[in-house]
Homo-oligomer: 228 residues x 2
Amino acid sequence: MSADAVVLLSGGLDSATVAAIARRDGFAVHAVSFRYGQRHAVELDAAAKVASAVGAVEHRIVDIDLRAFGGSALTADIDVPKAGVDTSSIPVTYVPARNTIFLSFALAFAEVLGSDDIFIGVNALDYSGYPDCRPEYLAAYQAMARLATKAGVEGGRPVQIHAPLIDRRKSEIVRLGVDLGVDYAITISCYDPSDDGGACGECDSCRLRRQGFADAGISDPTHYAGIR
Amino acid sequence: MSADAVVLLSGGLDSATVAAIARRDGFAVHAVSFRYGQRHAVELDAAAKVASAVGAVEHRIVDIDLRAFGGSALTADIDVPKAGVDTSSIPVTYVPARNTIFLSFALAFAEVLGSDDIFIGVNALDYSGYPDCRPEYLAAYQAMARLATKAGVEGGRPVQIHAPLIDRRKSEIVRLGVDLGVDYAITISCYDPSDDGGACGECDSCRLRRQGFADAGISDPTHYAGIR
């Protein structure tokens, strides 16, 4: 019997690749996505397609209200920047404590399942400067998680936070995913997609994705509505 | 101008005391409560009264769906035990990763406010054996939180997780709160209250509360519906 793993699934390129890695490594995938007041619910449709494609045991969508606090271009009425990736400061697309909140729900779900394995698709290289995508953050999260649950008191296998893309370049991720059979046409990375799910092609996330396919020498299947 | 603090407010005895401590220490209190599928929404009414009584700047209620995962007598259809406090194992009233989730929302709220101070009313002595009420857990959470936010990258004052009741007995908490003017009649600790907000008097939380007042030699203002 496969061990259960909780996989955070955004519907984007990275998490789709991570789900495929979890399957490759023999885990039964319990996918979790969040409806968190993001502008683009089209993400959730993509996540459902990815969960199905990877053969997930289940796909749960959890409602959380990050708009109650605001503070990000992704959850409040702030424009998504499209002038190019600026790595000199943390961009307005940063959502305060988002990965901390997502991992905390994953931890709750894992504890209920009796699972010790949580997969998250962060990477620290071609990211946009978010504090909660750094290896030292994830290590601290794992140390906390090991004290947070019943297993932390009663013993048992400690919780593992798997971030297999943490030190990969976007082009490596694309190559790895293609090798694992990921269909990137069903994924969406854009911070500001059109209503029909087309990617803008110009936000940080689109730029990193396009560059990743270009660097990998792989044809990009993304529908960029914003680019003629 | 007072510094802002985020205070997790459940409507119970401990968090009401913590809110009073935050005010005593000069903080402007931004109270946060959660509607998390708990059986007893009467908690939220109590939290609103406590927020008002302590002069909170605001009181936000965040909807989260812990019932999506279940796994606890407080969020699923499992009976609340009333035979007495059993400290030999973690009880079914434990909600998986609850404090981790609550603190993560508090961290997001603090980051949006520009606040570095989060107050939580856990205590490790007269508690019910929950892993996420232990000092080592809170220390690990704080270490993680300091890496999770913009301040963790850009510098600035590190996040402080204040748990001023962590090593206090329930009787000490009651005495401290009475000294600070807390009106415990508006608080509710019961895991299984009646529809009119009366406490059962027999769940672990009621037993610990009753014992606390008895040990403090202070008259218990709680309305125990279950006790004649």
